[in-house]
């Protein structure tokens, strides 16, 4: 019957710990991406679409019926 050496057990623990950290990092980056897109921080900086919110009111032509 195979019995893990203490060194293997320790390395296994370390590897699983590293896996957990990497997975947490991925989840964190995904969460950041979702929140950034929702709040529009990055999108507003680099898109090429006119944004009514930043157009001065004087410059908005009145629409006649």
């Amino acid at each position: 019957m195979h019995r893990d050496h203490e060194l293997h057990t320790r390395r296994k623990g370390r590897n699983f710990g590293l896996l957990a950290v990497l997975l947490a990092f991925i989840v964190l980056i995904f969460g950041l991406t979702v929140v950034k897109i929702q709040t529009g921080g990055f999108a507003e900086a680099f898109d090429h679409v006119s944004r009514p919110a930043i157009v001065p009111q004087d410059a908005v032509p009145e629409v006649s019926e």
């Binding site: 195979h2 019995r3 893990d4 050496h5 203490e6 060194l7 293997h8 320790r10 390395r11 623990g13 370390r14 710990g17 590293l18 964190l28 969460g31 950041l32 929140v35 709040t39």
Partner: protein, 313 residues
């Protein structure tokens, strides 16, 4: 398949191989917890709102930056740690972690934390985090710690920056109110640490570190601790009268500083012989109160911020 375990002895280097806990210890978790708490307060009391997820992750990057400083400090101070009793069992001097691994971890986490804080919050906060890591590693660890007895005072500045970084993460700016938080921790650090140095007879002289207790003597350290306690009281009252303060902060600050000043006075007006006779009761009392002081003072800023809509200064 070969079972490698057959070729590995039961004792020796194998049992010295680093585990996750050793790498965690490299990050100095106690110092990290102080940074997390004060940065969180700075972030919460800053005007305007921050998305909870962005706020929480910003705090995480600040904590990671603090941890990176700890790893770099342990890498550089390995020679000192090896000769002092208190630090001999740290991961590097005990041989569980290679110095080069600690350096690599510190540098990697430094870059990661700064870049991620910049992307998560803003580059003002990222700049101050990078500056803090630089200050703690280069200015404090590499330069001041080994050359001047004022290392505790100036080096304490590195531990004082986190609330301002938290504030910057929320607002992108560092106004006077944020700097008052820095000043509060800056003035708090020397009496807190010197009280500890007076009752835990650390063997800094063995490592040739010019601590105030060694270079100027224990009586001078007692006097300096009291003087800094006076300065701390002034800064504390200034925070209470500033935009982050209010009537509640002022009332709490008066009590906190009153007890702190009394403790620092008692510690100053006695000799080492008296301290030895009662087991350093005054020094221990001041040290414990300093912990309560910082926690309550920062907590009351949060309460005051929550009360601001109902009235303040």
């Amino acid at each position: 398949m070969t079972d490698l375990s057959l070729h590995i002895p039961d004792t020796g280097p194998a049992s010295d191989e680093a585990g996750l806990r050793d790498y965690w210890q490299l990050l100095k978790p106690r110092l990290m917890s102080l940074s997390v708490f004060t940065a969180l307060v700075g972030l919460v009391i800053a005007p305007g709102g921050v998305h909870p997820f962005l706020g929480a992750t910003s705090i995480l990057w600040i904590a990671l930056g603090a941890g990176a400083s700890g790893a770099l400090n342990m890498w550089f101070d390995a020679d000192i740690d090896r000769v002092m009793k208190r630090t001999r069992s740290r991961p590097i001097p005990s041989g569980r972690v290679e110095p080069s691994d600690a350096l690599a971890l510190g540098l990697f986490l430094s870059v990661l934390s700064v870049v991620m804080l910049g992307l998560t919050a803003n580059w003002v906060a990222a700049f101050w985090l990078a500056f803090t890591i630089f200050f703690y590693t280069v200015i404090y660890s590499m330069w001041l710690k080994r050359t001047t007895s004022w290392n505790t005072v100036i080096g304490g500045l590195a531990g004082a920056f986190p609330p301002m970084i938290g504030w910057a993460a929320a607002t992108g700016s560092t106004p006077l109110d944020a700097w008052l938080l820095v000043a509060l921790i800056f003035m708090w650090t020397p009496p807190h640490f010197w009280a500890l140095a007076l009752f835990v007879r650390m063997d800094y002289h063995v490592a040739r570190i010019p601590m105030l207790t060694v270079t100027h003597g224990r009586d001078a350290t007692r006097r300096q601790a009291f003087l800094y306690a006076v300065g701390l009281a002034v800064v504390s009252l200034a925070t209470a009268l500033s935009g982050i303060g209010g009537p509640l902060t002022l009332a709490v600050a008066v009590v906190l500083n009153g007890v702190f000043l009394k403790g620092a006075w008692d510690m100053w007006r006695r000799t080492d012989a008296e301290a030895d006779a009662d087991g350093h009761a005054a020094e221990k009392a001041l040290f414990k109160w300093s912990l309560v002081y910082l926690f309550v003072h920062f907590a009351v800023f949060v309460v005051e911020a929550a009360l601001h809509p109902y009235g303040g200064w």
